[in-house]
Symmetry: C2
């Protein structure tokens, strides 16, 4: 690489590092707000976070950054960069172009509207009154529709939004994938509904000491290979994982005295996210490639540990006796098999975040179809509750008593995050597809679980997924690992075979 390119690229890298440093500070300030910052400091804190975010943003759209990117994407220069560096430059260019495409006054107006809209959503959800939120949501949707024009319409208008969370994913592809998935999951769900072999979950409804729950979460995370010297576990209202830097990837969970399963599965879930970020190649540290490659792939790693591993029988053959030793009184008369059945109970319900592994995907498909109608068919916002309730009736057979348990249940739309929901089901599909390959390449998979020997699994995932961070696109990654593109059949196969046995279908 010629010396001039080298030195310009160094400057570019330093700007990257600076943005990452701002993100680290913001990440810690946010983590602290969620885990125990004093109430009276919150307002000033929020201003501080805003200031830091603005500074990071200013760097990414600075004239200096523009010049550097223009220089580095010049064909003669670009070909001299290493592949990974090319990816970094492309990635920043994409983000910069996107941010610059929207006129600053529109962007500003949206930044002012979004938090207000969130506040309105919160109270509307509480009272179950969609009409109080509707004017705000209409404005949000209107502005998003405008933004699509600025960003540039892809195959369809909704494609533009999807692409922001899952690069290169299209409506055409998702339509096909989701319709295949729906075609298998809806009947499966109906069979389960009609089965008389319902798992008994009554034993879960006892008191479980919170201190012991915490110890068990720490134990499980240690078993997964979560590195406590490069992270920590705390409690927050909503569990999350946050990678501050490669040596500091924190997770939170939430303990419910009356529900031992909740913390177990949120720890496994967030632990999965964290394993991903703890094991990104150190070479990528300090660049914007040192993060998950997409929402969908990130979610695949959390769901793989939470569901494919954490809700499997071999896993609990090994770990259920340990759980029993933490709660001998509560669990002495419950077998591993009964526990396994209980944590895999399927039930059509109204609320996405409480849904089981099967019906969860139907909640997502409903949102996907509705979002597509909003942006590709100009569905009026006022029609949302009716459309919502109709689809819930059709796919899940349930009807919300009011909109607070229906169309108002999720925060995402209130701040304009359309195109995000699909990631959750993509995560499930990617996870099943990846595990299918892992089982072929590692026939001892179930035995490893039964033996509590989880490190080969973590190592396999490091080699195939974790190490690459954002340096490979999701579509490249899934193709390289499994030899084919996203295929929903693996998830459907997995769910069918699992529930067939549990529900004796």
């Amino acid at each position: 690489m010629d010396h001039n390119i080298q030195s310009k690229f160094e400057v570019f890298l330093n700007m990257n590092r600076k943005i990452k440093s701002y993100y680290e500070a913001i990440g810690l300030l946010d983590w602290d707000l969620a885990t125990g910052a004093p109430r009276k400091g919150v307002d000033t804190r929020s201003e501080t976070i805003g200031m830091l975010a603005t500074e990071a943003f200013k760097i990414s759209i600075s004239d200096e950054m523009k010049e550097l990117i223009t220089y580095l994407t010049n064909e003669d220069v670009f070909v001299q960069l290493q592949e990974q560096d090319q990816r970094l430059v492309e990635d920043l260019k994409l983000e910069m172009d996107r941010m610059q495409s929207v006129p600053p006054d529109k962007f500003q107006a949206f930044s002012v509207l979004a938090p207000k809209s969130q506040v309105q959503w919160e109270s509307a959800k509480e009272s179950g009154d969609f009409s109080a939120f509707e004017p705000y949501l209409s404005q949000i949707v209107e502005m998003k529709r405008e933004f699509i024009d600025y960003y540039g319409v892809k195959d369809t208008r909704y494609d533009t939004l999807l692409d922001m969370f899952e690069p290169d994913l299209t409506v055409a592809k998702l339509d096909e994938v989701f319709s295949r998935l729906k075609a298998r999951l809806v009947p499966l769900q109906e069979k389960i509904k009609n089965s008389v072999h319902k798992p008994d979950t009554s034993f879960l409804d006892q008191s479980f000491d919170i201190k012991k729950q915490e110890e068990f979460s720490r134990y499980l995370l240690g078993e997964m290979g979560y590195d406590f010297e490069a992270g920590r576990l705390d409690e927050s209202v909503h569990p999350f994982a946050t990678g501050l830097n490669p040596g500091d990837v924190r997770i939170t969970t939430h303990y419910y005295e009356k529900d031992v399963a909740s913390a177990v599965f949120s720890s496994l879930h967030e632990g999965g996210h964290a394993l991903y970020e703890q094991n990104i190649d150190p070479k990528l540290a300090g660049t914007l490639l040192a993060e998950g490659t997409s929402m969908g792939i990130h979610e695949s790693q959390s769901r793989l540990w939470e569901n494919m591993i954490g809700r499997s029988l071999p896993f609990w053959e090994r770990y259920y006796p340990v759980l029993q030793s933490y709660f001998p009184e509560q669990l002495k008369d419950v077998s591993a098999e009964s526990f396994y059945r209980a944590i895999n109970k399927v039930e059509s319900s109204l609320i996405r975040i409480e849904a089981d592994e099967l019906t969860y995907n139907l909640h997502i498909i409903i949102r996907y179809e509705i979002e597509k109608m909003l942006f590709n068919e100009n569905l009026p916002v006022s029609d949302l509750p009716a459309v919502w309730n109709e689809k819930y009736k059709q796919y899940l057979g349930v009807t919300p008593p009011h909109d607070g348990l229906g169309v108002l249940q999720d925060v995402h739309w209130s701040s304009g995050d359309f195109g995000y929901f699909a990631s959750y089901s993509l995560g499930n599909m990617y996870a099943a597809q990846i595990v299918n390959t892992m089982r072929k390449e590692m026939p001892e998979f179930d035995r490893y679980l039964r033996e509590g020997n989880l490190s080969p699994i973590k190592e396999w995932l490091t080699e195939k997924v974790y190490q690459y961070g954002k340096s490979r696109k999701p579509s490249e990654l899934i193709l390289a690992i499994t030899g084919e593109e996203l295929n929903p059949d693996y998830l459907a196969d997995y769910l069918e075979s699992k529930y067939k046995e549990i529900y004796s279908l």
Copy 2:
């Protein structure tokens, strides 16, 4: 105020707010490092802190800041500012002038040297080998001597350094104050040494459950009026207080199973610092005046709560039964009076941070005299161990077995913090002088302690000290409160009367 001034001052205030926001972020990143950040994230974290500190620094020496300060300190403009705003402008100007007076390459060289010197100090302290540290300390002292020329020599060269921690304090004043203090404390200490009425401290050397110690610390902080909705208590190796913003002033303590007194007094001490910052006038929030006015005054507030209140008999008449109820087994046969005597034991020792309320000041006076010799008499660094040991023999009657327990014990010099030590004794003197006035204005002082009615004391301190933050200089503050300037007799009176009774002198 004319409109142009108004708008320029607004810009100036916004730059202030931005610097404060950086400080808040840095403060949290530091707090996190001390309270539980994972080991493997420390290196990247340190870089992030460095980046944010640099950004804050850049604002304070930016051309824009220079122009604003030049404009605002122009006499015609300055007189139109409110008093508090004038103070803010003066304060920033002082800091800017100081930073700009040193050529950037010198400043840079010092920033590189200081951390290396600290690392050397640490290992030299460990091995007790001054010669390993000497070349680094010589360079640090040499650079500080140069810096004094850049900053501008005040009455004497050492005055320049003193002034950085305690504005307007002079060598002439401190010489007088410390010689009066020494003249009374050295003989007092000797009398105590010869007294046969030594307090029995053996009962302190038992096991005290750490969880209970923590609960008791929380209880005491609540009693002091520390607002847990505007702060939190955590554990760290070295206790500290940090004001992130006025609604978030955190403290840490350290629990020793074998020493119940340590956490009690460090909680009271850090609680005192925190009360100061929690009760600064909200009008000052977001400006650089929203902090303690000097190291000395800050320390007076911690020592006032730790010693004048926390080591008094009336205080323990109220709170000792509570402490007993936390540790009934360990303390059932120990009276409040015995406890009071034990926590006030005086003993000449080698280590400053373990010293009692009386001899502590002699440790400080020794350091003050030595620093003065270094900068005003060009004492060679190689002579430090000999001078140190001689003064310890003379004032405290003890001789370190090696330099690790002598001249190498404190971190301050390794990073060039000369002029800082005096603050600790200033704190004691200010505290005694302030309490003397408080007792006159509030004759119920002892009764309030006996009743555990601490809020009038907190309110009095808020009115006289806390609310002003940095908007009044230490000398103005002490004069306004007590009607006279710093006077060491109050501390000597207080100590004499206290120990006369304890040691039956």
